[in-house]
Subunit: 338 residues, 3 copies
Amino acid sequence: MLSPTPADSIQLTADGQLKHFLTTEGLPQALLTQILDTADSFVDMGEQQVKKVPLLRGKTVANLFFEASTRTLSTFELAAKRLSADVLNLNISTSSTAKGETLKDTLMTLRAMHCDMFVVRHSASGAAHFIAEQVTPDVAVINAGDGRHAHPTQAMLDMLTIRRHKGEFTPLKVAIVGDILHSRVARSQIHALRTLGVAEIRVIAPMTLLPRHIESLGVKVYTEMSRGLRDVDVVMMLRLQKERMQTALLPSESEFYKLYGLTEAKLAYAKPDALVMHPGPINRGVEIESAVADGPRSLILDQVTNGIAVRMAVMSMAMSGQLTQQNTLTSSAAAYEA
Amino acid sequence: MLSPTPADSIQLTADGQLKHFLTTEGLPQALLTQILDTADSFVDMGEQQVKKVPLLRGKTVANLFFEASTRTLSTFELAAKRLSADVLNLNISTSSTAKGETLKDTLMTLRAMHCDMFVVRHSASGAAHFIAEQVTPDVAVINAGDGRHAHPTQAMLDMLTIRRHKGEFTPLKVAIVGDILHSRVARSQIHALRTLGVAEIRVIAPMTLLPRHIESLGVKVYTEMSRGLRDVDVVMMLRLQKERMQTALLPSESEFYKLYGLTEAKLAYAKPDALVMHPGPINRGVEIESAVADGPRSLILDQVTNGIAVRMAVMSMAMSGQLTQQNTLTSSAAAYEA
Amino acid sequence: MLSPTPADSIQLTADGQLKHFLTTEGLPQALLTQILDTADSFVDMGEQQVKKVPLLRGKTVANLFFEASTRTLSTFELAAKRLSADVLNLNISTSSTAKGETLKDTLMTLRAMHCDMFVVRHSASGAAHFIAEQVTPDVAVINAGDGRHAHPTQAMLDMLTIRRHKGEFTPLKVAIVGDILHSRVARSQIHALRTLGVAEIRVIAPMTLLPRHIESLGVKVYTEMSRGLRDVDVVMMLRLQKERMQTALLPSESEFYKLYGLTEAKLAYAKPDALVMHPGPINRGVEIESAVADGPRSLILDQVTNGIAVRMAVMSMAMSGQLTQQNTLTSSAAAYEA
């Protein structure tokens, strides 16, 4: 029998398996650890001659990008192909929505084509949840970034990168630096870091780029790099979303760089073996100095490699969870009818 | 020996197999039934875990879309991939034709790359026939819509949807509603319905959206929904092609909806178990009321599912016919030389 | 032990295998012959029912086209898919470079995604070499045309076409006709023809479309078709790159056609069995008369077919060379550490 599922657990099956991946918020530690363990095995596979497994063979993954992003799209496309899925790239802005079709009709149509998974990027916060609600239980939904809300695969690739270099999360002090206010990446990182049990999470930003009540997420707030970076084990830089900063929240890029750009001088405040991370693409001389980006402590390219592995992990786990769910529903319905 | 093939049977091999699929007009009933039977087996496959068969493995399908259509392109792309073909999507408007190459040269070039099948959409009536003539017998051509002429896979997915719900064609009264004048879908539906032997075909439209001499196709003409829908078993709505209605053929969308939009009130004229169909994407409140589109008699999403199956059917049948034809020609040539 | 590799042999491994394919210049005759032999086997495969081999299975080929070219992109995409590679098409102009990322960062990111091969087209001469230097030894680079510098796969498909029709290179007189000045194709053809040992290479062009010191490449220069075509075995026409001729190097297209367009009258100067070639897409009535392009001596469509085979050949050879190189480096590093 199917036990009732609370509304906020749309991501999980009744027995706790992943079936959508929409946010890192509220997921249990064991599940995040399972994602990291699964991803670890795919990192190793990436080094082999044949980088392909048949886990999604005969499945169709539709990339629904309402917001253009060549880099993120490419990583999901590669992850899906290396899982042997058939991939459909849909540039929705040029699609049927232009002909007056509603979003829901587009979703129902793609479901009717027997797409098994949607990878969704959208400029509106909550879009991935909305879509998952529409297409459950037939289609698994992976959030590839929605508004300011969440970018959970980015957060989990960051977690994987930290774990592969530091081993344990519990002793770590981690600083997130930059435009916290507009960053879905920061939100997803904070939730994941808390759940995985790091000792301390800091955010470093000018007051104008900090959300109100950010402390309620369990983070310490700093407005100066010299204090915020002191003794941290990991520095996670954010991308400066120029397109999101049309209002005068900042005097200028050069002013930002002077105060918050990660230079070797500022990095000296952190522990000597501190890791440097950035979700990319990087703006050299805006968020980060080239000497740091290309330096021995930078893990920026490891993050890219780990990103493919994490996406393969959540795609294969969510597909497996969906199939379990569908079978449960089918047997449940059969039992009801019998 | 190869018996001579009449000019109007370009779609069939000498022994009656499908080798191009350009129009439903003139095809024998047995062939349409074979398409439906083959498609039925693919509908069942769509429910399975691995939605893939190797029928087109090692074949190349080139989608030649001279007219943009994300939805139709996606269904053909999925159908080809589920048949294990390699797929090449060509947006021709941005291609070599811009460099002054003629259409024929583009076709000959793609044939020389050993493409095995072209899926063609074009704004000019007759384009698919022209292309098939150029590339026979090396390449199989599937018409994905040419001007006002034909959209045969749309018509056959409609036939499949009717047969799966009604069983037999012969007792049925079917009404086609909307812009008959500009509709390639309506033309292909009428030819298929006649060949499959339905009892009565009606078209319902304002006088300004009816082609002259439409009665010669064997249909009954109505200009009012109240009379045209009376006692029908199937209501097939057409899409209002706004882009094709620049001249003042209609007062307004709201006027059209008032007279010809399918509402629950108007649907009451039809039989209580009448099926409601629409090729999509739907314009809610223009051609159809949401309560009808989402209601229990609507088969709009079944049509989408059946569309993949029908496309897989005609692609595999046409490829098989082309191979038979090529082998016949080869042995014929060998016999001639010997 | 790894012997040192001179800077100009970036294309070859220490033991002489192809690992990048950037230019025909400087490659040994044995290697060009190996490319042609390998391609020959793929031409035969193109005639078979299943046009697919698993040589690049589990490998990722990224097409990096900084300059749009649907036709060339399609041939590389088909070649990669017929080798069973996963293919990623990147339209770089709409990609991260727009977000301020440097070219080198884009390359490093794609390498970190474990792409195994880049197919590169760029408007700057030398771009393919630059990219190969950045990503050696992890990624094999194939030059699909860089500025005025080289287009080596085009040259090798021309060589394959000549060899399949003439058998031997040494007795041949070959004329290259048209805009030599701006042509990367002509440069790559000249280097390949010399290495393969043809008896005589001629270039025919107006003085304004000839590079200075072109004779130093070992060619004979003609400015008149009547003299230049006399007794040649092969006529290789170039495409008139209208977009590259904004300055007044030529009076007009019709003037060019009158003097240098290949007509049946001018072709009569060549040997009776002379081959006619053109890289396509052709401008009928500008570089070539339709009667010649479609005539019995034209090999323009053979070139297209052979182009797929040559691309499959260099892609599989370069991948194999890269793997050898990587293994050598690994064992070399292991030996050093041991």
